[in-house]
């Protein structure tokens, strides 16, 4: 299956291991990723709020780049996913906005007609590849690995976007974890917020919120946490030392990007999944490549 691939800024800078792991795992699963090299940022939350027209221009431009390739657009970041979905939706709802945005795109010979389908790697795994095929590909079952799924917000809410009456009903990652032999655990932080979006000006909120989540995951027996979003990963992993300081206790919680969990299960060597680039060491496998009990 061929997909237009939009990694977003984070996977191209502070979370390059996610980009690397996605490429390796996708190729092993037979996904042909066509990276949209000239794609920009989607505007995260900040630009989205203060400059709606530019926000829509940036996102519609990315949608148009995928449309030009006649391919569905796959993301690996929650916030990018929601931005692209929202911009696509508004493009269809608001003709005036659509015309304005297309006028701007015209300057580089682009035009969006509104046909791009946006999807996230998590949904590609479940909807395009499917549990059955993933089960067959699982050569290294992660037996007894207790994992805590950390969804983050923008792949789960707003309620109107994804249809969950209660966002805690999102169980996509747990489904996958079971396919790979893991034991998903329940804990209070599953669909809570990591606080990333205000961390650039005040990281105390992110530290405090995410501290609660990692602590809860640990208390409920998680050996590792897994997230579909590089922004959540940044707080969970890169800021874990500050979180430990705030909580005044050691956590040592390895945080996996979703494709890394898949990669381990389908037998891709940890180095190729760039696990060594994490701030919290990921020592889940023993020398035989099995989960270290």
């Amino acid at each position: 299956m061929k997909l237009a691939y939009y990694p977003g800024c984070s996977a191209k800078s502070t979370c390059q291991e996610l980009n690397e792991a996605t490429h390796v795992v996708a190729s092993s699963l037979g996904l042909d990723l066509v990276e949209l090299e000239s794609a920009t940022c989607t505007g995260a939350r900040e630009l989205r709020a203060i400059d709606p027209i530019c926000f829509h221009s940036l996102n519609v431009r990315i949608l148009a780049l995928a449309e030009r390739e006649h391919l569905p657009l796959m993301t690996i970041c929650n916030t990018c996913t929601l931005n692209l979905l929202d911009a696509n939706d508004n493009f269809h709802k608001d003709t005036e906005l659509a015309n304005k945005v297309n006028e701007r795109l015209e300057q580089e010979g682009l035009e969006y007609r509104g046909t791009t389908r946006v999807t996230h790697f998590l949904w590609v795994l479940l909807e395009e590849i499917g549990e059955e095929k993933l089960r067959q590909r699982t050569v290294n079952p992660l037996t007894d690995l207790t994992v805590a799924a950390f969804y983050g917000c923008h792949i789960t809410r707003p309620p109107g976007r994804y249809g969950f009456v209660d966002s805690r009903n999102n169980v996509a990652i747990e489904k996958l974890a079971r396919v790979f032999g893991c034991k998903p655990i329940d804990y209070s932080g599953r669909t809570e917020c990591c606080g990333f979006h205000t961390a650039a000006h005040d990281e105390r909120v992110a530290i405090r919120l995410t501290g609660q989540h990692i602590d809860s995951a640990k208390k409920n027996g998680a050996r590792a946490m897994v997230t579909p979003c590089p922004l959540c990963h940044t707080v969970l992993d890169s800021m874990q030392r500050e979180i430990e300081k705030d909580l005044a206790k050691k956590l040592d919680m390895p945080i996996l990007h979703l494709p890394q969990l898949v990669g381990l299960a389908i037998g891709i060597p940890p180095e190729q999944l760039a696990l060594q680039r994490h701030m919290v060491p990921v020592n889940l496998l023993n020398s035989a490549g099995k989960i270290d009990g």
Partner: protein, 333 residues
């Protein structure tokens, strides 16, 4: 007790959502309900369990009324209209905020008071902290120019966001669901509910901008983490993040730009590079305070998570300027 799909479908077809959601229960089924009671008469605060027979069309409020009438006449809970208008009966049921008068009873329920507000007793919370915040925003429209006479030009488009905010019934469900409010005094964030109340007048184009700026300055609005928990909790289905908080942030970026430092820096970085360079963003937002980040920066550098060369000289891969052009050519927000 089993979910009866045929009954649910029939009820939905008849436009009766409450009956549809009730189809997990049948007449006479016993609902197990645990209610968090305050400390009283020498007893510590604790859950008290009651068994309530299910009757058709039963809502959470009906269950509370039944408990009060049959088992615990001293149970404190608040309601008035019983029809999703007055905003007084919000509680937490099974871990989420609901209006007792609008939520279908479930086979097993844990009912608690709203979070983030002082509990008066049992399920009744003190509204004062919430209302004090709203009042501090001077929540009325003040004109700077004299009324021009009837008919005053005011379009639907101009009132688009303010009119969404006017759907608010001030039930405070969102205030209870907000994780930043849950952190207490850590930030000066006013919380979703008070911001919706503010938006009713702040997003009204007739309002005095100086007064709106004063209110926004007190709002701590840029501490909103955009988690959408408020939208999930809102019984009036107000798109709080996208139609209230974001337009308010846009207004703040214009009338109190120092509040929007992070957002404006973000805009600059994307206009310059097409993408976000986290290091440049942090430097722009934190200024000299960045010195305190050096030890962490070194740790990130070792793992290849930041690259100062790229941050200073730009990315070698070079995003075509066209993306950034979208921002540069059309000026700032």
């Amino acid at each position: 007790m089993n979910f009866n799909n045929d009954a649910a479908l029939t009820a939905i077809m008849a436009g009766d959502n409450l009956a549809a959601r009730n189809t997990r229960l049948r007449e006479g089924d016993v609902i197990g309900v645990r209610i968090l009671r305050s400390a009283a008469n020498g007893k510590a605060a604790d859950f008290e369990t009651f068994e309530v027979p299910f009757r058709k069309w039963m809502r959470v409020l009906d269950v509370l009324n039944y408990v009060s009438e049959h088992f615990a006449s001293d149970l404190a809970y608040r309601w008035s209209c019983g029809s999703k208008m007055c905003g007084t009966c919000a509680v937490r049921m099974n871990g989420r905020e609901v209006l007792a008068c609008w939520e279908a009873a479930e086979p097993s329920m844990t009912i608690e008071p709203l979070r983030n507000l002082p509990v008066v007793r049992d399920l009744v919370v003190d509204r004062e902290p919430f209302e004090r915040k709203v009042l501090s925003f001077e929540p009325w429209v003040k004109r700077t120019k004299d009324y021009a006479g009837f008919p005053e030009p005011l379009s639907h488009k101009e009132m688009k966001h303010a009119s969404k905010a006017l759907d608010c019934i001030a039930c405070m469900a969102c205030y209870s669901a907000c994780p930043v409010i849950g952190l207490g005094e850590l930030t000066n964030f006013a919380g979703p509910g008070p911001l919706v109340q503010l938006a009713q007048t702040a997003l009204d184009p007739r309002n005095d901008l100086a007064k709106v700026a004063r209110a926004l300055e007190k709002s701590g609005i840029f501490n909103c983490v955009s988690c959408y928990k408020c939208e999930e909790a809102c019984p009036a289905k107000i798109p709080i993040v996208s139609e209230i908080i974001e337009p308010l942030k846009a207004k703040a970026a214009r009338v109190v730009p120092h509040m929007a430092k992070h957002a404006l820096a973000f805009h600059k970085v994307v206009a310059r590079r097409g993408r976000i360079d986290p290091t440049e963003l942090i430097v722009r937002v934190q200024g000299l305070r960045i010195l305190g980040f050096i030890p962490r920066a070194l740790r990130l550098l070792v793992r290849g998570k930041i690259n100062p060369l790229v941050s200073i000289f730009g990315s070698r891969s070079g995003i075509p300027a066209s993306g950034g052009d979208l921002l540069r050519k059309h000026g700032g927000p």
